[in-house]
Symmetry: C2
Subunit: 289 residues, 2 copies
């Protein structure tokens, strides 16, 4: 097994173990919402965000285990955003990661509350992290800033309002940078911050921004050429949205994914350990799910 | 003007000034959600929670101004919970504080996002508070713990699941303690915590619990005897819910409000400054909105 895969497996094991311990206390009169939260949280995502947090902590000279709770808080926020995005009043999606969406199983009201519960639990997790108070506060600022109306929530608003409109390149990039990019930026920056390193925060942000753009363009491509079974969700769902594929065409998008990936890798120059992050970026270029 | 009123006016002025500075940056491509957030946040609530946070900080020997951001974070969480509770899939309410509810004005999707944005902004506000890092982390733990599935969100779940069922006294009390009580507890405890006092946290929690119970029983009474114009919302909305009035009758409820208020006042014994908190509790007994 490659060093990359060994390290990745170690990270994934730590994340799954951490997340699977959440929300299963007994007795719980509110157990329905706890089940709904666990249903989506343990549905087997790529765990890209916590992996980035842990590896950037290591790359910046820190102990990756200390970054685990911060990465898992991010995964809770990512999960809540998917639950709310899938709601009938939003994207109205029936499947996610090969399973019926949260509101399909638990109903709309419970899905709203499961999302609210996960978002709040993310900050409980930050508060309980075993790290110096200054680190916790710095990470709290990064996380809440990127997840809120200046970041992910704001991006979702642009996405909703952009439906059935022709957005230009600048608008699509802004939408993407807020909706998807902001959480990736939080992932990378919290890792560096947990290591107590403020100097290389900008480099981590540059990696995150380029990776996020490559990731989103690849996502738009997969909506056209992807395989429903591998993706675990319907394809062709972006027909009423402005996408990079519609704007630039498939060939140019393939080149842009490559270019942004190269930019991400170049941003890693200030870090001594950069093999894992380089391979992670390169693997995302050709991913099929 | 009484000392009570002077102090209350000072607190309310500080809260309104703080909240009205939020979410109005320009230019803002996501301005719709910012408007939706401000619509509900500045709709003129009682600001009971931030007032409690500031006064408990003062009562515990601290500077009340330092508690202002923590109190305002609580008000953001209270406001988000009202927006989500009013949604068609939840309580489906059309009016709140005399105005159309958030989703009636901005649509369901934007109301979900405005709630998500306010919840996240509450934690941004905590992160930006001008207080020692240890204080910020302690308040973060209190706030996120009380607002999440162990507290307010959990209580909303019990409320939803309890509709059209006959709950017993223990179940109604638990529901109330989680849905309404938890945020009041956070308000009082964050005040004491901001003053750097850990010894009187329990006393603050006792005051909050008794006040919260009195407040909720009075709320149930107002749903029957209240005046729609003064309340700013429809009455008789609890017909399908288990309430204290249905369980104990109106006379017994009146006596319970008095008893719980007395308990709240008794819990203030360890604090030197207790006139304001005593009067606040006594005024809530007879409130008509």
């Amino acid at each position: 097994m490659s060093d990359y895969q060994k390290r990745m497996d170690g990270y994934l094991e730590a994340v799954e173990a951490f997340l699977s311990r959440q929300f299963e206390w007994e007795p719980a009169p509110q157990k329905t919402v706890l089940q709904a939260m666990r249903y989506s949280l343990l549905a087997g995502g790529k765990r890209l965000r916590p992996v980035l947090t842990m590896e950037f902590c290591r790359a910046a000279g820190g102990d990756w285990q200390q970054a685990l709770p911060f990465g898992c808080a991010l995964e809770m926020i990512h999960t809540y955003s998917l639950i709310h995005d899938d709601l009938p009043c939003m994207d109205n999606d029936d499947y996610r990661r090969g399973k019926p969406t949260n509101h399909k199983v638990f109903g709309e009201a419970m899905a709203v509350l499961a999302g609210d519960g996960l978002l709040t639990a993310a900050f409980e997790t930050v508060a309980a992290a075993d790290a110096p108070a200054e680190t916790v506060v710095r990470n709290l600022a990064i996380l809440s800033g990127c997840a809120g109306v200046r970041g992910m929530v704001g991006g979702q608003v642009l996405d909703l309002e952009g439906e059935d409109k022709a957005l230009d390149a600048g608008q699509i990039r802004l939408l993407q940078a807020m909706k998807t990019g902001a959480l990736l930026r939080a992932a990378c920056c919290m890792g560096v911050s947990t290591a107590g390193d403020r100097e290389r925060m900008d480099a981590a942000a540059q990696y995150a921004d380029a990776l996020g753009l490559a990731f989103q363009i690849r996502d738009d491509m997969l909506d056209v050429i992807g395989d429903r079974a591998k993706l675990g969700k319907a394809t062709g769902m972006d027909a009423h949205k402005s996408t990079f594929v519609r704007l630039y065409g498939m060939d140019a998008c393939g080149r842009m994914v490559r270019e942004e990936t190269d930019k991400a890798v170049a941003a890693l120059a200030p870090f001594a350990h950069r093999d894992f992050l380089t391979e992670l970026a390169n693997r995302l270029v050709d991913r099929d799910h």
